[in-house]
């Protein structure tokens, strides 16, 4: 079988390690789409690799061989060392548990979103009376269009031009269905917890995407930067989470600086290419490893 089967797992690790760099440097629109797709591909491929690492061992298991009438011993040393198989089995168990928890949480969240729509049907904008500085999108469902939820505290903190930035930013989230991107990368991280760092990276890129759309809509990146700064300062500092990926800890500043700099070039493809390559390599090697496993299967049955 060789080491081909381990490549999807390495790809997942590489993608997770490279996610912050991709978040910082990739053009937001292309970067988020590519990162979500690569994460999903890498997650599936890595899980297939884990199944193969366990399955290769199970096929050779003596009771199974007897039942199926196979020769009791394969030729030569086993292609997958026992510790590796056990580790892979443990990995699959983790995936099953984490996946189940995430699935339940995700279903509950979807129910909550549908329920909230019932209280938000007066128009695109729903204002909540609160001194907090809040703006959120309520993504569209089958029966309701997307809505923008804003506290009156937020509206008072911004001037008319900045309010236009806010609305344009939220509209971008709704129009491009960023909730779907977020849900997909969340599923990828459930399928393979090694990929958790890609979630924060995608979140950041989605905000950058909406920032750039808002800047286009109002015609000024400076104004957009100012609106972000104004809203953030009005919100005030909050207690830092115990752990945050380093780039996320300064994300408002990064977004403001990105807007004060010239618009991101449609070039800068290196990071994206790497992510795309990773996803493709992961998928290809999963297929190759599965082919290897089939070959091994035949060998054990004596079909040579």
């Amino acid at each position: 079988m060789g080491s081909v089967v381990y490549i999807p797992l390495l790809c997942a690790l590489a993608l997770a390690a490279g996610a912050p760099a991709i978040a910082r440097s990739a053009p937001p629109r292309q970067g988020s789409a590519m990162l979500v797709a690569a994460a999903f591909g890498a997650a599936l491929a890595a899980d297939v690799a884990l199944v193969i690492l366990v399955g290769a061992r199970l096929i050779d298991a003596a009771p199974l061989a007897t039942v199926l009438g196979w020769p009791p011993e394969a030729n030569g040393p086993h292609p997958v060392p026992l510790p590796v198989s056990l580790a892979a089995a443990a990995g699959l168990i983790v995936v099953a548990i984490v996946g189940q928890i995430d699935w339940r949480r995700s279903s509950a969240a979807a129910r909550r979103v549908r329920a909230l729509h019932g209280h938000a049907d007066t128009g695109e904008l729903v204002v909540l009376r609160s001194p907090t500085v809040l703006a959120l999108t309520l993504p569209a469902t089958r029966t309701s269009p997307g809505r923008i939820l804003v506290s009156d505290g937020m509206l008072r903190a911004l001037d008319a031009a900045e309010r236009r930035v806010l609305l344009a930013h939220e509209r971008s989230h709704l129009r491009h269905r960023h909730d779907r991107y977020r849900r997909l990368v969340g599923i990828a991280a459930s399928l393979n917890p090694l990929l958790r760092p890609t979630v924060a990276a995608v979140d950041f890129l989605l905000e950058r995407w909406a920032d750039e759309d808002a800047a286009d809509a109002v015609g000024s990146r400076h104004l957009t930067a100012r609106a972000l700064a104004r809203a953030a300062v009005a919100d005030g500092p909050r207690r830092e989470r115990l752990w945050q990926p380093s780039f996320a800890a300064q994300k408002v500043s990064r977004r403001v600086n990105a807007l004060l700099a010239p618009a991101p070039a449609r070039g800068a493809r290196l990071a994206m290419l790497l992510a795309a390559m990773t996803g493709v390599i992961a998928a290809a090697t999963a297929v190759a490893a599965a082919h290897d496993l089939g070959h091994l299967f035949d060998l054990l049955r004596g079909d040579g």
Binding site: P139, R171, H173, S220
Partner: protein
């Protein structure tokens, strides 16, 4: 995708409603259609603002009362208080929001606050 220009007439009706409603909330006092129009930069037609305010009033999202020969409009605060109760969990700062509810800004650190305040005080001019 068509870029929405800065001038009023290109905006859709629903978007106009949002802008006008937001302006009423930000003002903190009842506004006449003329004052709303001014607050929004004076680029919208007066009739457009009037129509938008009427639509909002019909939806019971804004109140109005007589002012001179016309009306002055203010947001329906009761409705917003009811809404706040329904969305209470989202307003709680400590609460973990559902992953698909994207927002605007969050998670400012103390260092960042200083830097951003300085940026605002020095006036990042809108000069593009």
């Amino acid at each position: 995708m068509r870029v929405v220009m800065n001038d009023g007439p290109r905006r859709e009706a629903g978007e106009l409603e949002s802008e006008v409603l937001a302006a009423l909330w930000a003002a903190g006092r009842p506004l006449t259609p003329g004052e709303v129009r001014e607050e929004l930069g004076g680029l919208l037609a007066y009739t457009t603002v009037m129509t938008t305010l009427s639509r909002l009033h019909a939806k019971d999202v804004v109140d109005r009362r007589r002012s001179g020969r016309g009306f002055a409009y203010s947001p329906n605060v009761r409705e917003a208080e009811v809404a706040a109760r329904h969305f209470r969990s989202l307003l709680d700062r400590g609460h973990d929001r559902d992953e698909v509810l994207q927002g605007f800004v969050s998670g400012l650190s103390a260092d960042e606050e200083r830097v951003l305040r300085a940026l605002l005080d020095n006036g990042a001019e809108v000069d593009e």
